[in-house]
């Protein structure tokens, strides 16, 4: 009998010990996750908190589009927005004046004193202020994907993410040039654009083009010569976080820059020499995962931010100091 009991005790101890070993060494599956497995954006949110907030949101107008893609400002405060398969023309109060249906989904827009240029994936169409289509330009290649348009009095620049170049057109559709961003010797990698966010803006006689993969903005003359660049990748608030930022830019009347980013969706304000000035809209004012914050800056210092998440346009004015 003792033998049995001893054997029983030994087996009991063996079971207990092996259970403890299994549980400790090889571990158990668990529904708690260690910190090291979780992604933390604390370093970015901390940096934002230390930056001055220069603007505040003054109003927000809803859009009747499911997927707004781009916006631009016309004369007298009129606003044009493209998205879905439509072009919306609105007045400065945000009331929809006209809705023009398009044949395919538009991606970008530019508005000069005479015409509205609507960019699609592979081509550009020209409309007048009444909403009539005037011209349809040629297809730019089957891989073309236009993501940004900028125009001055007689030239239109189109940023093509698909082929990683910037087209230069005359207003009649005539191709004037192509920028490949490879620098004066043609030895640089060119425009590094990992994702379809490639924007540009014109100021004075130069066109500023984003180079998101290199986290900088580059200025080109209309002849295609690179004039300067600024911008760096950094977790600090003055640099651009993420692998491809800034996603959109706008240039204010004084030559300063407004940039928007994705990943940490936020809008920042820079001086004309690239010095960081402050925040327009910090990332906690946008829902997580917001992308596509197209920008426009009017002559009165108001900044328009397209918010696809809430399907609205937000207006920001400078905070009185």
């Amino acid at each position: 009998m003792n033998r049995k009991l001893t054997a029983a005790l030994i087996i009991a101890i063996a079971i207990s010990v092996s259970t403890l070993l299994v549980v400790n060494k090889r571990g158990c599956s668990t529904t708690s996750v260690p910190e090291s497995y979780l992604y933390s954006t604390k370093v970015y949110t901390d940096a934002e908190r230390s930056a001055p907030l220069l603007y505040r949101e003054i109003s927000r107008i809803p859009l009747s589009l499911l997927e707004p893609h781009a916006l631009t400002i016309g004369q007298n405060g009129t606003i044009a927005v493209v998205g879905d398969k439509a072009l919306l023309l609105m007045d400065s109060e945000g009331r929809e004046k006209q809705r023009i249906n398009l044949d395919s989904p538009p991606t970008c827009i530019a508005w000069t004193s005479t015409n509205i240029f609507v960019g699609f994936n592979t081509h550009i169409e020209v409309y007048n202020a009444a909403g009539n289509r005037l011209q349809t330009w040629q297809t730019l290649g089957e891989n073309a994907w236009l993501t940004g348009l900028a125009a001055n009095t007689n030239t239109l620049f189109a940023a093509d993410y698909g082929q990683r170049i910037v087209w230069q057109f005359g207003f009649d559709g005539q191709l004037l040039g192509k920028f490949n961003g490879r620098g004066p010797q043609g030895s640089e990698p060119g425009f590094v654009i990992p994702s379809p966010y490639f924007d540009l803006a014109i100021h004075n006689e130069s066109v500023w083009i984003t180079n998101p993969g290199r986290q900088r903005l580059e200025a080109y003359s209309f002849a295609g010569k690179r004039l300067s660049y600024w911008g760096k990748a950094s977790t600090e608030i003055d640099g651009f976080c993420g692998c491809c930022n800034p996603s959109y830019i706008a240039i204010t009347a004084d030559g300063g820059f407004v940039t928007s980013e994705k990943g940490m969706p936020r809008v920042k304000r820079y001086a004309s020499d690239g010095a960081f000035l402050g925040m327009v809209a910090p990332s906690d004012t946008f829902p997580k995962g917001t992308v596509g914050l197209d920008l426009a800056a009017d002559n009165d210092g108001i900044i328009l931010v397209l918010d696809p998440g809430s399907r609205a346009i937000r207006f920001y004015a400078e905070e009185a100091l």
Binding site: M1, K4, L5, A7, A8, I11, A12, I15, S16, T19, V22, V23, R26, G27, C28, S29, T30, L66, E67, N143, W145, Y161, G162, Q163, R164, V192, P194, S195, P196, K288, G289
Partner: protein, 488 residues
């Protein structure tokens, strides 16, 4: 299940509505123009276990069952059954990591029966049906040596004790409870409970949730003394096997030929599955009255169960993740300060409409209600049947393993003198004192050394407690050297 179809279509609709964001994301992301001639690697797709293995596993199960039947009924060899158990632990346990096993497969079949939009893989169907078919013909052969959960409990039985009968009968209701609850949760699509709380699969995989591993180890520790606790008091598939085994064509018997009422096998079964000879001690009409009483009780029990069932199922519905999500969302909507948990945050981000979830939850709750009624009535029926079974005293003259409870382990063979006769005793002395059988709850009964000659030990120990109608324990342990000495 209609719920699934509706929810599937609604979610597809929901996805379609938010599809534009996906559609644009699914568009081309032109890769950089590599000048060095770099080619893009392709994403590997590691292949799963070949489908052939399912067939092999099913055939192995069939072979093991055939062998089990031969060992238990024809060869009557405890050693062979033990070896088969070890094979089961190695193959069905550690190699296959215990999934998919017959103990859980009934859930898949039940799901397919209650939801016409689902089906069961044929191999799983066979895994479910083969042990039942064998049980219909040969008894619970599966339990004996082919079940990985049973086998691992079996090998730790060292000093089995006999539980008091009232406890044994009370605990034997638990498998029905488990079966009922698990069936309800399959019906509502909430969980495969038997799989989730399988105590031994964590040991076979050597990993699993902490408390399940502890539970398994605890059952094994208990199993040293209370033989096969999971099999006897928890296993839901065992309910089905016991029903099938009650109808079996052949059954495991302690004696190979006939019972001579020598009483030597009274303590042979660690699972207390051997039924003792009984005598009708009361008048026939008393028994009839009792049975009639129970029959009258049946509708009351059924009604009570039917009425209280939804309360239980309401409790169980808290386990369903869709109902939990709904509760969380309602809490968040009513108290804005509450932080979102991962589940509600993911739901809100997914774009599925609250209305569709609401509809799904409403249908689910209806299922829980209906299922609750049926579950309650089922419990009432089970209790009534148990009472009826306890009330009935069948006249029995022989010692025989219970059809429903015998797990075909073969331990009792060695206790039977007729068995030894058949084996032409010689080297059987090792088998006489096998390491199972109840430890002595009556003191004074010595265990003769296996190497001595015949030893007769008679005591007048008190009646073994808890066994109704048993005669006083009067052991005569004979260790015959020659066949002639075997006759009492």
């Amino acid at each position: 299940m209609r719920i699934r179809l509706i929810s599937l279509s609604i979610m597809t609709l929901g996805l379609v509505l938010v599809a534009p964001t996906f559609v644009s994301a699914a568009e081309r992301f032109p890769t950089p123009d590599f000048e060095t001639g770099y080619t893009l690697p392709s994403t590997p797709q590691p292949a799963p276990r070949a489908a052939m293995w399912e067939v092999i596993d099913t055939v192995t199960l069939l072979a093991a069952l055939v062998l089990g039947a031969i060992f238990a009924l024809k060869l009557r060899s405890r050693r062979a059954i033990t070896i088969l158990s070890l094979f089961t632990i190695a193959y069905f346990g550690f190699w296959k990591k215990g999934c998919i096993c017959p103990v859980g497969s009934w859930q898949n079949v039940f799901q397919a029966m209650t939801d016409p939009t689902t089906t069961v893989p044929t191999s799983v169907l066979f895994v479910f049906a083969l042990p039942l078919i064998f049980a219909l013909f040969f008894g619970r052969i599966f339990c004996g040596a082919v079940c990985p959960l049973g086998a691992i409990q079996d090998i730790v039985i060292l000093k089995p004790i006999r539980l008091p009968q009232w406890l044994k009968h009370a605990l034997s209701l638990l498998p029905y409870v488990y079966l009922g609850i698990a069936a309800l949760l399959v019906y509502t699509g909430t969980a495969f409970l038997v799989c989730r709380y399988d105590p031994f699969v964590g040991i076979y995989r050597m990993n699993g949730p902490f408390w399940i591993i502890i539970f398994g180890a605890a059952l094994l520790l208990i199993g040293i003394f209370v033989a096969r606790p999971y099999c006897r008091f928890l296993c839901p598939y065992g309910v089905l096997l016991s029903w099938a085994s009650a109808l079996s064509w052949r059954k495991v018997t302690t004696t190979p030929t006939e019972c001579i009422q020598c009483q030597l096998c009274e303590d042979a079964c660690p699972f207390d599955a051997i039924e003792f000879p009984t005598q009708a001690t009361e008048a026939h009409h008393h028994g009839l009255k009792r049975l009639a009483g129970i029959l009258l009780l049946l509708p009351i029990l059924l009604g009570f169960g039917f009425w209280t069932g939804p309360h239980l199922s309401n409790l169980l519905s808290k386990m369903d993740h869709r109902i939990q999500l709904m509760a969380q969302l309602e809490l968040e909507n009513s108290i804005p300060a509450i932080e979102m948990n991962d589940q509600s945050a993911a739901f809100r981000a997914s774009g599925t409409s609250l209305a569709s979830l609401q509809q799904e939850v409403t249908e689910l709750q209806q299922r829980f209600k209906t299922g609750g009624h049926i579950l309650g009535a089922f419990f009432g029926l089970v209790i009534a049947c148990k009472l009826a079974a306890l009330a009935r005293v069948r006249t029995r003259t022989d010692y025989e393993p219970s059809r429903t409870n015998c797990l075909a382990c073969g331990r009792c063979f060695a206790y039977c003198p007729k068995e030894h006769e058949q084996r032409k005793v010689g080297s059987s002395r090792k088998q006489v004192v096998s390491y199972s059988g109840f430890s002595h709850i009556t003191h004074g009964v010595g265990r003769a050394s296996p190497y001595s000659g015949s030893a007769c030990i008679a005591t007048d120990s008190p009646r073994a407690p808890g066994i109704p109608g048993s005669t006083s324990y009067n052991a005569k342990i004979l260790l015959p050297k020659t066949p002639q000495e075997n006759d009492e």
